[in-house]
């Protein structure tokens, strides 16, 4: 993970996920998907996320909307990290990411590119940008668990 300590690399990761966000198109026939729209009152971020969870496995995850660099890239990285994983594995990733954001202990190996946001606390008003997509997935997982 040495390269992920290089600010230049981290900047490139963020800008790449902002310019070319992964899984960035909503599916029209969303009958198999749980979906949620997260819009922020205090900033522009307004994203919709869809997730198809089958037998506790995240088979597909998608998002779209208008969002800032940090919100878009952090959500894009999240989709890459959790697709194909079980909801328990995804939960562990989310918990570690939240720990990182709120300056607690975390396992950086689980977070891969998401560690680009390890310093977002330096401008705490941007924490909501870095977590909006992650909160969306958390709510969808909770919804899935409740429905089980």
């Amino acid at each position: 993970m040495a390269s992920l300590n290089d600010p230049m690399i981290l900047r490139q990761i963020i800008m790449d996920h902002y310019d070319n966000p992964r899984h960035h198109q909503l599916i029209e026939d969303d009958s198999k998907y749980l979906s949620i729209r997260k819009d922020s009152d205090s900033c522009i971020d307004d994203i919709t996320m869809q997730v198809n969870i089958n037998n506790d496995i995240i088979e597909d995850i998608r998002f779209d909307g208008v969002a800032c660099t940090i919100a878009t890239s952090s959500t894009s990285i999240l989709t890459d990290l959790v697709i194909g994983k079980t909801i328990d594995e995804a939960q562990e990733i989310i918990d570690n990411y939240k720990n990182m954001i709120f300056e607690k202990d975390y396992d950086e190996d689980l977070l891969e590119e998401a560690i680009a946001f390890q310093n977002v606390h330096r401008q705490a008003n941007r924490i909501k940008c870095a977590t909006i997509g992650w909160d969306a997935l958390q709510q969808l997982i909770d919804k899935y668990r409740e429905a089980k």
Binding site: L10, R11, I14, I70, T72, N119, V120
Partner: protein, 420 residues
């Protein structure tokens, strides 16, 4: 003459508080203005010397609270030059004032009546009227604007018709900053026998607002935007109209008699709108804040801001073609801009980058959520100025933007370097 450097000494936050290791360059006064020491002292004086309730106690300390509290109505009366201090309702701020008005005037409107607003209104001058549409079926119409998104009296006249019963406009837009010719607009409104309610949140702190000269029926504003405490504002209304409004909050302090058979009798305006224990210290602090800016002089404040704003615009236009300014010609305080490539949601990155230079700005939609229809971008950076900003602050903003743009050219995404 007004000396900005002497005035700055009176604001504790401008003397020693650092942001990101830099002296604070505060350009978010459109959201809330900084507080001078005299306002802080006045609030503390209430808590330290006579923190009793108002209109309640039969002892000398309570009498002092009453006196200090009611005295502020006279100060506001002088400030906005209304006929009578009883035309002044204390509210929690502009938003509350407009909600009190919207609720209170509901019984005077009927299905199909038109409330005329603009697309540059703040959410608080939009949503209360949208709700009246849902509740009683009034119609919402928007005034016509020219290609620069300005409202002229001529365009206003074209927007008026006999169906319009109420006109609700921001005197100065909180993003674009155009100062409307409210006097002429009020005259046209009254020619149609309609009522005009002015959102003065951004105008009252910056220019002399004389409700008699402008001949407006209602005016709403907040104290915190001119250096008073938060949680206190004013709804002014011409007395007969004001007294016709129905009270929103019922409770103690606004009634005269309550009977078991559910009959109750309420006070006249302004007291019928002031149920419950008010924000006493904030009200008293508002009085001090008004005296403070009146001593400086509203014309001096306006001229000063115009001068420093022009300095920044001249420099930006000459030195930074990468910056798009949405409202260069408006004299009002907010300066709305974007860095090319950072329009829309990315404007927040410019806000965060400016913060690393100690500069406080606001980014986003600024609660004017209909505005993107007009200016074609969902988000912008807003540098909103007040009497304590200096030419040096403006240079700091321009130099920081130049620095950010230059670094961004070298490394895409450099505006995020604070994060890395």
């Amino acid at each position: 003459m007004f000396d900005v450097y002497e005035t700055r000494k009176k604001y504790p936050i401008l003397n020693g508080i650092k942001m990101e290791g830099h002296n604070l360059v505060y350009m978010d006064s459109g959201a809330t203005a900084l507080k001078p020491q005299c306002v802080i002292d006045k609030v503390v004086e209430y808590y330290s010397e006579y923190s009793t309730n108002t209109h309640r106690g039969d002892y000398p300390l309570a009498h002092r609270a009453d006196e200090e509290y009611e005295k502020v109505r006279k100060i506001v009366k002088e400030f906005i030059n209304c006929n009578d201090e009883n035309e002044i309702v204390y509210t929690y701020g502009t938003t509350h004032s407009i909600n009190v008005l919207a609720h209170g005037i509901k019984h005077m409107l009927k299905k199909g009546d038109v409330v005329l607003i603009s697309e540059f209104e703040h959410a608080s001058n939009v949503l209360p009227w949208f709700r009246l549409k849902d509740e009683i079926g009034i119609e919402i119409e928007y005034v016509k604007l020219d290609e620069k998104h300005h409202l002229t009296p001529e365009l206003f006249k074209e927007s008026m018709h006999d169906g319009v019963k109420l006109v609700c406009l921001a005197h100065i837009s909180n993003v674009l900053g155009q100062c409307l010719d409210i006097k002429e607009i009020a005259k046209i409104t009254h020619d149609y026998n309609a009522i005009i309610a002015v959102d003065g949140a951004q105008s009252v702190p910056h220019i002399k607002v004389d409700v008699k000269d402008l001949d407006i029926d209602f005016l709403s504003f907040s104290a915190h935007k001119f250096g008073g405490p938060t949680g206190i504002g004013v709804l002014y209304g011409k007395y007969d109209l004001l007294n016709k409004l129905e009270a929103y909050n019922l409770g103690g302090g606004m009634n005269t008699r309550i009977e078991c058979n559910t009959c109750y009798f309420i006070k006249e305006a302004p007291f019928k709108f002031e149920a419950g224990t008010p924000a006493i210290e904030a009200t008293i602090g508002m009085g001090k804040a008004i005296q403070f800016i009146m001593d400086i002089g509203m014309d001096n404040i306006h001229e000063h801001i115009k001068k420093i704003r022009k300095h920044a615009i001249d420099r930006l236009q000459n030195e930074l073609p990468e910056v798009i300014i949405y409202n260069p010609e408006n004299e009002g305080a907010p300066l709305a801009f974007n860095v090319k490539g950072y329009e829309g949601a990315r404007c927040q990155d410019i806000g965060s980058a400016l913060a690393t230079y100690g500069i406080a700005v606001r980014t986003g939609e600024h609660c004017a959520k209909l505005l993107p229809n007009l200016i074609g971008t969902k988000g912008s950076v807003r540098a909103s100025l007040y009497l304590y900003n200096t030419i040096e602050d403006m240079d700091c903003l321009v130099d920081a933007l130049k620095d950010i743009v230059a670094k961004e050219k070298e490394n895409k995404g450099d505006a995020l370097s604070w994060l890395l």
